[in-house]
Symmetry: C2
Subunit: 761 residues, 2 copies
């Protein structure tokens, strides 16, 4: 474990200055509010190596695809999360010297704190400049969870001797994505305003090609009396600044605030964005920094009331789980169906597009249990809204008749990934999207969503599978050739058991839903059938027969085979790998990885996780014991599934070992890649580990089940579950699991195998 | 068939002007001399769409690799054939207007001729300029086969009215590769000289990174009297020019020659290249254009005497086969072990690197039969010289102990291709390199080469296979997982029959050679064994046991299975494909191609071609009948192998159908891609089709066998075979095959199954 961060239940604290940590700290201390967010860059700028990054959800750019060898069907563009206006741009000169941690003579002290309870980032630095002046700089900021158009920051500066200080406060739109493929300009800079009178700056930028308009207005206030007006302003090509010349008095800090409003064409007419952002900034400024901050903290209190998890006896684990839950809440709030959960959230640019199958397979349960159902519904609506593009995507690959293939990576519904073995072959993603529809209904009990919005999506997906299988004369079964399963350390394999299993399930489930929908709402169903040219019983029959005759490779001992030919591999265990060859993806050439037995993340076991109740405990055990030892867990999404399964199998030590790999992945930077951004979607996996793993939470037949199994070293584990208008509190101690109802009507539950009815307290 | 070229036995003639044909004609009319070569660009320049291209064998640039997603083991650079100095740069102005076919008012007539017998490219054009002047331009040029440092050209210009003409003759090094990945500058321009007095221009350029120096000197001569001295000279950043101002007299053409010497650091000290090129140009100029031309044509006479093929009764076929033989001879002359046969030769830039497995699998037999054995030996030496790099390449992929993996594509021995499914997995290429060593010895009878230079290569290759197999507990056999076979429409398959077969053969053959070498030359062998840490009997035993226990997938009916799982595919024939979906590589997404049954080029059948005598005729027939109908022949290397096999099986119509697809592939531009350059290596396949296919030529136990089978419509087929210091003439007519000895000692042959002894005429 890397000791550069202090262990604390609610805070993340970095208390020493090390330039080598800048990028990863920028990631770890990122803040956001579900609509926009930002890496923990220094307000006053930094000339050393760092990654400046402010991101606005849903504002993306179609960067031209870069591949070595083009294959038919590749997307022409790769939609990218876009680095946007730096709204905290600040330049400070003291006696003419720029304040910059990189060039200062000495950093005397440095402390950066992320208060996860309050959602506030703060920093206090003591510097000696090259000119000998000693100064103290304090800064805090937040992206308001209460008013998602607003961000705010407060800074102060004090010097040890009287000095002349120039403080320039502004907005800077001259930003680039580090990972752009062709160094294209992503932005056109529309207008810049710097108004001394109102002490407001505004800039408006528009994305090329996608034509998103983003306006930001910042209103500044210096605390040191009414005379603190800017001395001049400056307009750049892409920036607007106000400059204040001041003389400092030792022992008396200069303090200033900035209140920012951000308006985009996602929510406003493009030509009204400027005005809207000005209005936002003005209104918020009138409310004042302190009240804005209180509103924001209040909203976080509400969020934590529903989603906090407490762990007794293990502060590192406590901090780890809160860190995960904190970032999940910062990344997605479910108020906009155009947004989704990017794998890096607002903490970095890597991986471009915003949604992967991670959303459906790993993130949905967290939002179901910790938020209003409307939030999870937005995630489903995202795919519903992209159905037409998924049908087009399937057409590009030679499918027809309404078959839909959802993209592997997307921002707007179009595929934007281009490794053939992933884009074209990792088609199991379609299954997770169908599974999420079932999961939503299973959790909420709302059949209406499934019928009205779920069914068209299921229809497209079932049609895809029905066309994607082919009949094997040799096997006398339907087979699915040439796929990549969840274990991406195998490419272009035949009959991946997980893919075949979920494909069969999709067809069967869609058939069931079609029949149920028809009898529940014949008219609506008939309209829908007409709209989608649904051949009804003919298609249903076809799906059922293909599902029934699906080839599912297995051994006689009950081991489901990951794919055809799996037993031809050299049968090794991950424990046979020398430490210096791990992770193998950094040490082995791709062909060696592919032909080896080593598994990147749960594959057959992902199927056991999804369809748990269809397999006996023996089958679970046999397959877990066969596959887990071969798994190198080189995806951040791997350990969590293994925690859940190991916990079910009472393999508590294995479960805890796996838990450690997921919960502090970024805080402790296990994979030395936090500098690129955080593993946001795998944070939902950590939540699964705790709630479904150690908490044993399941919903079966509309009834919540709990079966707590406390890891060694934990004295207690408590979490909240929102379920069908109730709030439950679940407490697990060595003595057992207790569940109580905090809110809502009486509810039947099963706790450690015993049916109970929860009554209001 | 596209009628834009005239059918003629010795000439290729384009007699109409069509700007849309410019690029493909530039390819088709390319000239070269094995050391350098050039597309048929217009001397006077052309402002329309075209690809200016002059290439020098062995002068390459390591262009930075471009891939979408990096995989461990990828080469950092992709070595590229380099566009070099344009040595025929000419600018002509008539009354101030630049002569340019693209801007002329009218192209009255246009004729371009490639005289394949003489190796001379010529052109005659009549133009009306926009200023109304009518002119006739004639040009011819050649790259001397006699003196491979020299190129020469002659031009003339006549106008219909007296006019002022400015003729600028020069050298231009301001050239780019169209396919550069990052728009890097490939060249540094070292020096430029334009000397009015001697009428010589020189330029020296040096490649960045690889540091090749190329100096070119052109000496000019205007024929119209001694007064024809240049009026001025001009030096550009990368060019040197002499300009002549002249007045034309109608009916009297202005004529000029240019004699060019090209010296590179491949053959000269870098700082002597300029002087060397000046010396070459001076000497050649003294010899004079006519005598240079006669020397060149004389050398072509010698080449044709050994390699001409005549076909009676089918002028198109006659032209086609000569076009193939002509380009093969232009591309490679075997005088430099650093050179090899690029898939586009000197006719285009596509595919970068110079050598593929094409050289060993398809080209070697042509050079064995049509040239001195030293030429084929150079091709083998090329790989011997790269052995160390092949060992390094294998190490990058995790192999050790001297295992060698030759690159898929290379210029200097390093891998320079980067699709993982090709670079890392199309490892059968190693087999072809071993096969070529056996083939050379089988043909020439020279065991010395095999021992001294062949064995170290075989050793590296056998070691690679011995490490690349793994034991399958399930199959109780050795298997080879994760490969791409010759049929590149399958990737990452297990147990490709061809790969497993050639791997087993390599190990067995290397074991045989080791034992033979040891008993033939114990001391040399012992030295070699020490040098390469050869464990002798232990390794030999290991190879033999792995070869014996190699898994070779097959059906009970004798069909060898292309790979595991092949019978799970939907069993279709290429004839089921709608015409508008062909070629499938232009219409189908990659996953669809991969999971389909369709075969790009001979795969199992490539094994039957290589190891013909190990299979019965029945087995040949069963496998041909199974695979050929599934083959879409979308590689230019596919039809030829099928001609040879079909001919052996007396499927004459199928053989001829396939022959048509190979012999006029570029002349008729079947695949609409001649504009990128010609399919040089597949031209060797055409030769195989004729000589091994219709001629039935084989060498068995040191004895040449012939078994002529004339295609319908041909009255006769004649070709020459050079074999172990003899020259044979083979004539096939409807009445049968006759073979006569043109030169050398008596020789035993087998003709149509009958043993005979050839006596000198």
């Amino acid at each position: 474990m890397d000791p550069y961060l202090k262990v604390d239940p609610w805070l993340v604290v970095e208390s020493a200055w090390n330039p080598a940590d800048v990028r990863r700290s920028e990631s770890i201390f990122s803040i956001g509010n579900g609509r926009f967010g930002q890496r923990a860059n220094f307000e006053e700028g930094y000339s050393g190596d760092h990654l400046l990054g402010s991101y606005i959800g849903g504002v993306y750019y179609p960067d031209k695809t870069r591949v070595g060898w083009w294959k038919n069907g590749y997307p022409e563009y790769f939609a990218k999360v876009l680095n946007a206006t730096n709204w905290m741009a600040t330049r400070i000169h003291v006696n003419g010297e720029r304040v910059d941690l990189n060039t200062a003579k000495k950093v005397v002290s440095f402390q950066r704190t992320l208060d996860m309870k309050a959602g506030v980032l703060s920093r206090e630095v003591q510097l000696i400049l090259r000119n000998g002046i000693e100064l103290t700089l304090q800064a805090e900021r937040f992206c308001s969870m209460h008013n998602q158009d607003v961000a705010a920051g407060r800074m102060s500066l004090a010097t040890n001797v009287p000095a002349q200080v120039k403080i320039e406060l502004g907005l800077d739109g001259d930003v680039q994505n580090e990972d752009s493929n062709w160094n294209e300009a992503f932005w056109t800079h529309v207008s810049q305003v710097a108004d001394d009178e109102t002490q407001r700056c505004s800039i408006v930028n528009r994305t090329n090609k996608t034509d998103f308009t983003v306006a930001a207005t910042a209103q500044f206030g210096l605390k040191n009396g009414p005379g603190c007006k800017p001395n001049h302003n400056q307009i750049g090509d892409a920036s607007a600044w106000l400059a204040y010349d001041l003389d400092t008095i030792p022992g008396q800090a200069i303090e200033w605030t900035r209140i920012v409003g951000i308006a985009t064409s996602l929510h406003h007419e493009a030509n009204h964005c400027l005005e809207a952002s000005q209005q936002m900034a003005r209104n918020a400024f009138e409310r004042g920094y302190e009240r804005l901050r209180a509103d924001h903290v209040g909203r976080w209190d509400e969020i934590w009331a529903k989603s906090d998890i407490t762990i007794g006896g293990d502060v590192a684990a406590q901090q780890g789980i809160r860190f995960n839950v904190f970032h999940l809440n910062q990344t997605y709030q479910g108020d906009d169906p155009r947004l989704n959960i990017g794998p890096k959230g607002f903490t970095g640019e890597k991986y471009g597009g915003a949604s992967y199958w991670d959303t459906e397979a790993y993130c949905l349960p967290f939002y179901l249990a910790s938020h209003d159902p409307a939030v999870a519904r937005q995630l489903l609506r995202y795919r519903y809204n992209h159905l037409e593009k998924a049908i087009e995507n399937a057409e590009k690959l030679g499918f027809g008749c309404g078959a839909a293939l959802y993209p592997m990576v997307t921002m707007n519904g179009e595929e934007c990934h281009n490794e053939w073995e992933i884009t074209f072959e990792e088609i199991h993603r379609n299954g997770a999207i169908a599974y999420a529809i079932m999961n939503y209904e299973r959790y909420t009990g709302e059949v209406e969503y499934t019928h009205e919005f779920g069914f068209p999506v299921l229809l497209g997906i079932a049609r895809f599978w029905a066309q994607r299988v082919n009949w094997s004369e040799e096997k006398q079964k339907f087979v699915i050739l040439g796929v990549t399963g969840p274990n991406e350390y195998e490419n272009n394999v035949n009959n991946n058991w997980y893919t075949n299993t979920i494909a069969a399930w999709c067809m069967k489930y869609t058939a069931d839903v079609a029949e149920r929908y028809q009898s529940a709402a014949p008219e609506a169903f008939a309209d829908c059938a007409e709209q989608y040219n649904f051949a009804q019983s003919a298609e249903v029959r076809d799906w059922r027969s293909k599902a029934d005759l699906m080839y599912l490779p297995a051994q006689e001992n009950g081991v489901r085979l990951q794919q055809d030919g799996f037993m031809d591999k050299e049968q090794l265990s991950a424990s046979d790998l020398p430490e210096e060859q791990r992770p193998i993806n950094q040490h082995w050439s791709w062909d060696r990885i592919l032909r080896s037995i080593f598994i990147k993340q749960a594959d057959v076991l992902q199927g056991f996780y999804f369809f748990e109740d269809e397999f006996s405990e023996d089958e679970h055990r046999i397959n877990f014991d066969f596959y887990e030892p071969k798994t190198v867990h080189e995806s951040s999404l791997s350990p969590c599934i293994h925690v859940v399964l190991a916990s079910r199998l009472n393999k508590q030590d294995k479960a805890y070992e796996m838990y450690l790999r997921t919960s502090r992945l970024d805080l402790d930077d296990y994979n030395r890649e936090a500098y690129q951004g955080l593993h946001i979607t795998s944070m939902a996996g950590t939540w699964l580990s705790v709630v479904e793993g150690f908490g044993g939470f399941r919903v079966r037949n509309g009834i919540p089940h709990f079966d707590g199994k406390l890891p060694r070293g934990w004295s207690e584990l408590n979490f909240r579950i929102g379920f069908r208008d109730r709030q439950m509190k679940v407490s697990i101690e060595a003595s057992g699991t207790s569940v109580s109802l905090l809110q809502g009507e009486p509810l039947d539950v099963v706790v450690s195998g015993e049916p109970r009815t929860l009554e209001p307290a």
